[in-house]
Subunit: 335 residues, 2 copies
């Protein structure tokens, strides 16, 4: 099936570009108040499932054994911007395990945050694996291995006990057997999941319904950590941070590469999964903002932010507004 | 009409994302050996028409009056990467007109080239309008105004004599009246043009057929300057530079924002215009590489480069190949 246009990019008075994709909003029982496009086709969720990948960290007791707090938990589920507090946090996480950046298998890249990248360059430095946006997740994997007395070497292999545990957790939450794997940008496994199963996993993550008590408790603790420390889940000005800063425990939201965005709405018992078919983050963000505005009863104080995320202005290098993105009526109008 | 999928992005053994769009390959008479998707819908060509916007510079004699050579001409039609030689070149262009960076109305941004951006940061500096990828085009506009004895202030307004002349040139090449304008990223006007007219304009730019002799000569001179100095048309590792470095005078190719790519094939008498509907440069580049391989008789020595541009590997932060982009059969197979 052809995925519908979900977002239009307007310049002047013309739609200059558009983003197609699929959306699934699902409750813990698998009922779907909204599915647009192909919800059955498996997608790679990429970093959008970092919270699920971090659950073994709590369930195994590793996080308490090494004395990690909310910042470290949020970092373990983060795609961070490589800002100084992120780097310090991941360094601290590794240090508590008696390790350093050399244990990380994610590879280096310049910080996503431009000011942080330029500060690093100004200091005459090169980025290390700590600056990789996935370094917190990797520190979490390493911590699980260390707490279990396992060698952490090879922890990104799908055959390593840590990844087998992560796979089992995602299977439990999605309610399906995972069989198709690819390599993520940070070298960790990414498992293909249909969008509707992914959304249902986030409904379970939101509520704990249908999960064993220890897993439900771990999910609540992770959501709480990200709600308390949203800066550590992404970074300055980033979509996930901005949304969780504003909405607190009413939402958990997490982006993945190639246009994936997932969210959990605890009070509504809903999970949301979005995939822009072209891989565009800007498209997925507009879609998610529209879905939040539709499914989460907003307070008056929340509306201006959600409006700015749903219809972000395009400004040129002189700051002149030259256009805007906007969600299509399919997203904003209940049928 | 729904634009077809033109490019697939594969990770592991699955298509993770895809890019839809439209393509027009047209000769000077308006005959089209290939149109895919909606070739009649107007698009904003953005920076893809910088060569057409630079023609008045040659036609009015401004370029010779100020003693600009091939590097300056290529820069006037460039979206440069802000590398040191680009900045020096644009500075020299303005200096020859008795001006400096304060005359530029394009606004500042960090160099597109990462090493150049980091070098600037390392020196404790901020970018100026010189670093804007459009600064060469703007220096060209200013030069046209100065040579004609006009005030250059306000040169980005559609009502300024320079922009009226640019509009007339694009009307001549596209064979249509331009009526719909928007503001580009650099504040200059961008005129909406159907993809088939845009491709025909590049066929005329390629051959001079149907143009007044002075315009045909100006087009040939500009193509020659870019073929001789392809680094100054874009920058290190950029698609347009890499293609023109390899293929020389056999092609002129220029990218624009939001997934636009245009090319002129002088020996074949063809113009090509590509628009990825989602605005993705990576998609447009794969499409253009496939069209070059299809319509330009390649020499054996050219094939490995074209193959690498048609099917670029996706590598993760550890340099591991995790997937690839590829053009669909519609593009690679003559019907």
């Amino acid at each position: 099936m052809t995925n519908p246009v979900l977002v239009e990019v307007e310049r002047g008075h013309r739609v200059e570009s558009c983003h197609r994709g699929a959306v699934a909003v699902v409750d813990t029982h698998g009922h779907s108040p909204l599915v647009l496009g192909d919800g059955t086709r498996p997608i790679f969720p990429r970093s959008a499932v970092k919270a699920l990948q971090a659950l073994p960290l709590i369930e195994t007791g590793a996080v308490d054994r090494f004395g990690w707090g909310e910042e470290e938990l949020a970092l373990a589920a983060s795609s961070h911007s490589g800002e100084p507090a992120h780097i310090a946090g991941v360094g601290r996480m590794l240090e508590r395990c008696g390790l350093d950046a050399t244990a990380l298998a994610c590879g280096p890249h310049w910080p996503l945050n431009q000011a942080a990248a330029h500060a690093l360059a100004r200091a005459g430095l090169q980025p290390s694996a700590l600056h990789n946006n996935c370094s917190g997740k990797h520190a979490g994997f390493i911590c699980v291995a260390c707490a279990a007395g396992l060698a952490h070497a090879g922890y990104v292999s799908a055959a390593h006990p840590v990844q087998r545990e992560v796979r089992a957790v995602i299977e439990g939450l999605t309610g399906m057997t995972l069989s198709e794997v690819a390599v993520d940008g940070c070298s960790a496994p990414t498992w293909a999941v249909p969008l509707t199963n992914l959304a249902q996993a986030f409904a379970r993550f939101a509520t704990g319904d249908g999960l064993a008590p220890a897993r439900a408790k771990a999910a609540a603790r992770l959501r709480g950590a990200c709600a308390a420390k949203p800066f550590f889940a992404a970074g300055t000005g980033r979509f996930c941070t901005v949304v969780m800063e504003a909405l607190g425990e009413r939402i958990y939201v997490k982006a993945g590469a190639e246009g994936v965005l997932c969210a959990a709405l605890p009070q509504q018992g809903l999970g949301i999964a979005v995939k822009c078919e072209d891989g565009a983050a800007r498209g997925a963000e507009v879609v998610m903002a529209a879905l939040i505005a539709r499914f989460l009863p907003l307070e008056t104080v929340d509306r201006p932010l959600l409006e700015s995320l749903m219809r972000p202005a395009l400004r040129n290098w002189n700051g002149i507004k030259v256009g805007a993105l906007r969600p299509v009526a399919l997203l904003t109008t209940a049928s």
